[in-house]
């Protein structure tokens, strides 16, 4: 079988150094199984066939990255570590950012995370090596890949991919407001709200989880973030939030959760409130109840 010894070269295009530090930990600490991949660190980019890129691609890095890429010879594989290299992440829309990486070079594997766990980095590089071998053998590149490195676990408290309890969500947009990297988007579609979390631009900070008033949004401990470039825009978490008809005016509205009502009506028994009123009608009812 035709195999190529993977030789890795890392380029930092302006990262906060989290991914670089964690890459080093991945490469040098045995428990992350990196040594199983038999990857060699190349001294010069011209010897490399496995390019690892971190960072959102700053203006000053761009021309240097381009000139370095010219020294690569086929076949080679590009692995982007960290949310920044995929979508410029939290730094997007700054005057100094020209990224993301795939504007300059075709990327094969993306590893989302801020920074990704070493386990995810090792997995991503394992997938990169697998694709490199496919390129050497000139066979079709597999876009859907199974997990290669086995036996990794995450503690329950690990802040992994975001998920949503749709029944608790009131589409109040707090998560959208506090998200520093624009990873959450809520739109109204017909009589439903569509709540979208895009994992490839999420920085896994848990800000949305902390500030959510109803406890609807939460971090799972899922760290399976090493994905093929084809999944860049499709690795999302979509939930739908239902709306109800107001019992008074029949307009569609989003019903508040019991928890929220309890916060708003500290002195009232919320079981006695009419639970099916839209905000407008509730205002009227409250006025009648309190002043008339």
């Amino acid at each position: 079988m035709n195999k190529l010894k993977p030789k890795l070269f890392r380029i930092n295009t302006g990262s906060c150094n989290g991914c670089d530090v964690e890459f080093l930990a991945t490469a040098l600490v045995d428990k992350f199984q990196f040594h199983k991949l038999e990857v060699e660190i190349a001294e010069e980019i011209s010897q490399a066939n496995l390019l690892v890129i971190t960072g959102p691609l700053t203006a000053r890095s761009e021309p240097f990255l381009k000139s370095y890429i010219n020294k690569l010879s086929e076949p080679y594989v590009v692995v982007g570590i960290g949310t920044c290299s995929i979508t410029s992440g939290i730094f997007r829309d700054s005057y100094a950012i020209n990224g993301p990486t795939d504007k300059v070079i075709d990327v094969d594997i993306n590893i989302s995370g801020c920074p990704p766990r070493p386990q995810s980095i090792a997995e991503g590089i394992a997938k990169g090596v697998a694709i490199l071998n496919q390129k050497v053998q000139n066979v079709n590149i597999s876009k859907q890949m199974d997990t290669i490195l086995q036996g990794f676990e995450a503690p329950k408290s690990f802040r992994g991919k975001i998920n949503l309890h749709a029944n608790l969500c009131t589409a109040c947009r707090t998560c959208e407001t506090v998200c520093p990297s624009g990873a959450i988007n809520i739109t109204k579609i017909g009589d439903k709200y569509e709540h979208k979390v895009w994992h490839n631009t999420c920085c896994f900070c848990g800000n949305c989880v902390f500030f959510c008033p109803t406890g609807a949004i939460y971090n799972t401990n899922d760290f399976d973030t090493a994905k093929h470039q084809d999944e860049k825009y499709s690795d999302t978490n979509i939930s739908y939030i239902k709306t109800d008809n107001c019992s008074s005016c029949n307009k569609r509205y989003k019903k508040p959760t019991t928890g929220l009502l309890k916060k708003a009506y500290i002195n009232d028994d919320i079981n006695k409130l009419n639970n099916n009123l839209c905000p407008e009608c509730r205002k009227k009812e409250n006025f009648t109840r309190m002043y008339l």
Binding site: S88, D93, S94, Y95, Y233, S234, T236
Partner: protein, 183 residues
């Protein structure tokens, strides 16, 4: 070849009485400066000083130097009327001294020749706000790439929006939406 290591003197704390320092400045600058003292909830003193004339910064710098102080950093910002405010942050043995000057003509007098630790801070003001530190020993850019025009922080609206009308975030989310709609 191993170098012979000299015995080095231990650094001795210079006892500084901030009130003495302020007194000297009040005597030399008089009406030219206003001084405010501030104490945080942990008991740390800081001094805020406003200079009426930007040239007076030389006097302050010399006096900081004689008290063995250092320049921590300097902040600049653009005011709505187009002028720039520059605040130097000095440290004298644990007390922060903030000295504010204002400039209307995109220039100020560099104190780097007196206090070398102001070097980078002043260069950054030049590239980020296009305000020239007169007499600064370095002329090249520090951080800002030459592909970006100097004075980039003068803009109140983010540049990316200014240039394209939409942000990269909006463009990327469109692609995500497309992927969702395509199943």
């Amino acid at each position: 070849m191993p170098r012979v290591q000299k015995k080095r003197k231990f650094y001795k704390d210079v006892f500084v009485n901030t009130s003495k320092f302020i007194k000297i400045l009040r005597e030399t600058l008089g009406e030219q400066c206003s001084i405010k003292e501030d104490k945080d909830s942990y008991g740390n003193h800081s001094i805020w000083m406003k200079l009426k004339v930007k040239e007076s910064i030389n006097v302050v710098a010399n006096s900081i130097k004689s008290f063995k102080g250092r320049c921590i950093v300097a902040t600049a910002y653009k005011n709505r009327d187009g002028s720039h405010t520059i605040i130097y942050h000095f440290d004298i043995n644990g007390t922060i001294l903030n000295v504010e000057i204002k400039t209307n003509d995109n220039m100020f007098f560099s104190i780097t020749p007196i206090i070398p630790s102001a070097n980078w801070a002043e260069r950054e003001i030049r590239e980020m706000y296009g305000v020239e530190p007169i007499g600064h020993p370095n002329t090249d850019r520090l951080f800002l790439d030459y592909s970006i025009a100097k004075g980039v922080l003068n803009e109140f609206i983010p540049l990316s929006k200014l240039q394209r009308g939409v942000s990269k975030t909006d463009i990327m989310w469109k692609k995500v939406e497309e992927d969702i709609n395509n199943g």
